[in-house]
Symmetry: C2
Subunit: 459 residues, 2 copies
């Protein structure tokens, strides 16, 4: 985008004409929309708009295009890689007022929602249908934001990621045009997969305004166990054997002792501060005991202690709640710090080795670091607590991150399993995809010819 | 592409220099590569090349680009929508010599194969691993061709389509450049989803040369039943109730009496010539009986007769073999005819109504027509037997097809669930996707700036 063409004053005047007070230049709103939960420096937008309809989003994009002003889609700000930071200024488009659940087709197991609907609201709304939307990145994120970053979380092992659970999208291109990328059909071979192209595009190709989501039947029975052992490798080896057995697991998560300690501090718990595996079994009432028996016998083969079972649905919910809040919890280990969180994903048989080599590597650096992993997908996060003012600490953490990405790529993995590229993994993406990045840039030109959508992200 | 720049003689001379006798202009080879199994008119390529490596494919594309000659990727020719018909002449690139299974990573449950490997060869190769590749479009197609058309089949209900079972691709762009679109990681948020963009692009964006496929554990137990009833609606209503119950089904297929009659003729069987449901249960030995009991009780609620069980693995294999060959079988109902096969896919609760309305509509036209359906995905095929020389019959069938597509779109469905657009659904795609088709055209320019790859297909 040619900065010299930018006319922010004229753009703001035109935006106020269509949105009135829903176009805010107040400092506090701008600061609230300047950064996500990651460690990247804030980027202050010139204004924040609160559209109520897709048509209003299209109007905002059209005006911004006319005045060469960047447009940054904002869901809830719970991302990790600075995707919503307005690093070149411009207009933050807060989609939280697009909050309608438009239709639930229970017998087709799908629904249409607006992009600002949050995942927990949707699941509350679905409570009486026996259905739910399974993708659970931890934060109570907006579904549009989850699609934009191709989010996943512990349930991905059984239900897939946003890639697998979106049937169609409505979105506003960089030209202001509104498109719909698909239908409610479960499968389709109708031309190029525009739905999947927008999923994971981090607001750089289009602003997602509506989503048609695939829903799933709530499992009849869920049982959750916690296993801890002094040695993380034996837990990982057991987890991999369990996965390869093909039994009905819903979640398979690992945390190291540092992460458990943070959770204890944060939630006032007294969990054993050892490496811990969380396993959730899902199935029907008649079969789940059979699978649990198998898992227990296997745990004995690995000489692991007996698991601690969540005694009630409430206890289960509490356990997952603290697991989901581990990112917030870790901050307590070093007040004032922020987390530089890595996100590699490797083929499942390599995850134990990748974690072991990474822990050995990290033991040489002088930062508090924890490890949590979605073992079932081969995805794990190392969280390094840095002083955001210390360029020395940032450099140490970034170099350790680089080495981790090299290690993951050498094992056939990716630099990001679920957080996206954003600001923090642009060089990693180039290393992973090579000239594929040039194709991505050229595709962006097709959707956003004036390059106004979320500039400075991904590449 | 500018036809006046085309220099086929110079191109052929150059191709012969690198491929020798593996560049053939023999009439019989050209005819073997002129059409698929669909009803569309053949398109004779100027020559057929048989590369052995990705690098040779890249060399062919580079030469064809220099001489402005079309390039059409050819797998096994088992498609239905004329995707491999060389409607503008050019070079057919037969990938059957790219037939190596490069690596099987059993503990990661994935493998790398060359694009010409056929699905049955791969599954034979995997026999001792306890793993298999589930996508089963019927024909023993090449895996590259299956990815190019986003193929699926009966197993898609449980295991998804090619979209869900490809981790990464190697492909040659229209510039001759070789790219790799991803890694072996189970999930990734690393930039735009180039893998999914190539899947279903029907050879118009790139020629797929290698695939990294996701493998699945063979189910411990499989049981297959056949239910027949005079009334197709009661079978469909039962099938939908079964799906919505969430029990562990692998396949759920319907055939009308015409399709069963064709199968009897073709395979010398004596199946009852009534609407028929094929159900395959999959699970572990301890739980499958429980699910079957549930399904049987539900069948009684729908007043359906007792199912006929496949008594052995061989009987089960025979049943699926004849189901898979129904397209060939139908030709026997009218010797000399070809099938105009439709492929709509609708939300699952609408499939019974969509089939009913379609059968009522077809009863008014004077063509033999059968219906088979992958009920579990909402996808069904009507096969209308036409005299390929009769423009009157083609017109009748095409108008009925148009009405069926209108009906499916009105129900929230798609014009093609698994066969792709090719030559036969270009106007349907425009109706379904609107201006999305313009985006697809612009994306094609990115991958294939001189528009040499499979011209005349999709749009």
């Amino acid at each position: 985008m040619n900065g010299s063409d930018r006319n922010i004053a004229a753009c703001l005047a035109a935006l106020r004409e269509i949105l009135g007070s829903r176009c805010s230049t107040g400092q506090s709103q701008r600061e609230l929309h300047a950064r996500d939960e990651g460690w990247h420096l804030p980027g202050l937008p010139d204004a924040v708009c609160f559209p109520k309809t897709s048509r209003e989003v299209a109007g905002i994009v059209t005006l911004c295009r006319r005045h060469a002003v960047p447009v940054i889609a904002f869901g809830t700000g719970s991302g990790m890689e600075g995707q919503i930071n307005a690093v070149q200024g411009g207009i933050s488009v807060d989609l939280s007022s697009l909050d309608q659940i438009l239709e639930v087709n229970a017998s087709d197991m799908d629904c249409w929602v607006e992009a600002g609907v949050r995942r927990l609201s949707l699941n509350t709304h679905l409570r009486d249908t026996g259905l739910f939307f399974p993708v659970d990145p931890g934060a109570d994120a907006s579904l549009g934001g989850m699609a934009a970053t191709r989010a996943s979380g512990p349930n991905a092992m059984r239900y897939g990621t946003m890639r697998d659970n979106v049937l169609s999208l409505e979105a506003v291109l960089g030209t202001g045009e509104i498109i719909t990328t698909g239908t409610r059909a479960r499968k389709s071979s109708a031309g190029y997969d525009l739905t999947r192209l927008l999923i994971g595009s981090e607001g750089t190709l289009a602003i997602i305004t509506k989503l048609c989501l695939r829903l799933h039947a709530l499992p009849e029975a869920l049982r959750t166990a916690r296993l801890h052992a002094p040695d993380i490798q034996s837990l990982l080896d057991y987890a991999i054997a369990l996965m390869q057995s093909g039994i009905g697991l819903a979640k398979l998560e690992v945390m190291d002792a540092v992460a458990v300690k943070a959770i204890n501090l944060y939630a006032g718990l007294a969990l054993e501060e050892e490496p811990t595996l969380l396993i959730e079994f899902a199935g029907n009432a008649a079969t789940i005991d059979h699978e649990i028996d198998f898992a227990l016998a296997l745990a004995e083969d690995f000489r692991l202690p007996q698991p601690v079972w969540a005694a009630s649905p409430e206890a289960r919910a509490r356990l997952w709640k603290v697991r989901h809040e581990v990112a917030h919890a870790e901050a307590l280990l070093r007040p004032g710090s922020r987390s530089l969180v890595t996100d590699v994903c490797v083929p499942i048989s390599r995850i134990a080795l990748c974690i072991a080599e990474t822990r050995a590597d990290l033991s040489a650096i002088d930062l508090i670091a924890s490890t949590v992993g979605h073992i079932g997908d081969g995805n794990f996060h190392v969280s390094m607590l840095i002083d955001p003012e210390s360029s020395r600490e940032i450099a140490i953490a970034e170099v350790a991150h680089d080495r981790l990405v090299e290690r993951a790529l050498a094992m056939g993995g990716t630099c990001t399993g679920e957080h996206g590229v954003g600001l923090g993994k642009k060089t990693h993406l180039r290393r992973e995809m090579g000239t594929g990045v040039d194709l991505m840039r050229a595709i962006k030109q097709v959707f956003d010819p004036d390059l106004i959508l979320n500039p400075g992200k991904i590449f």
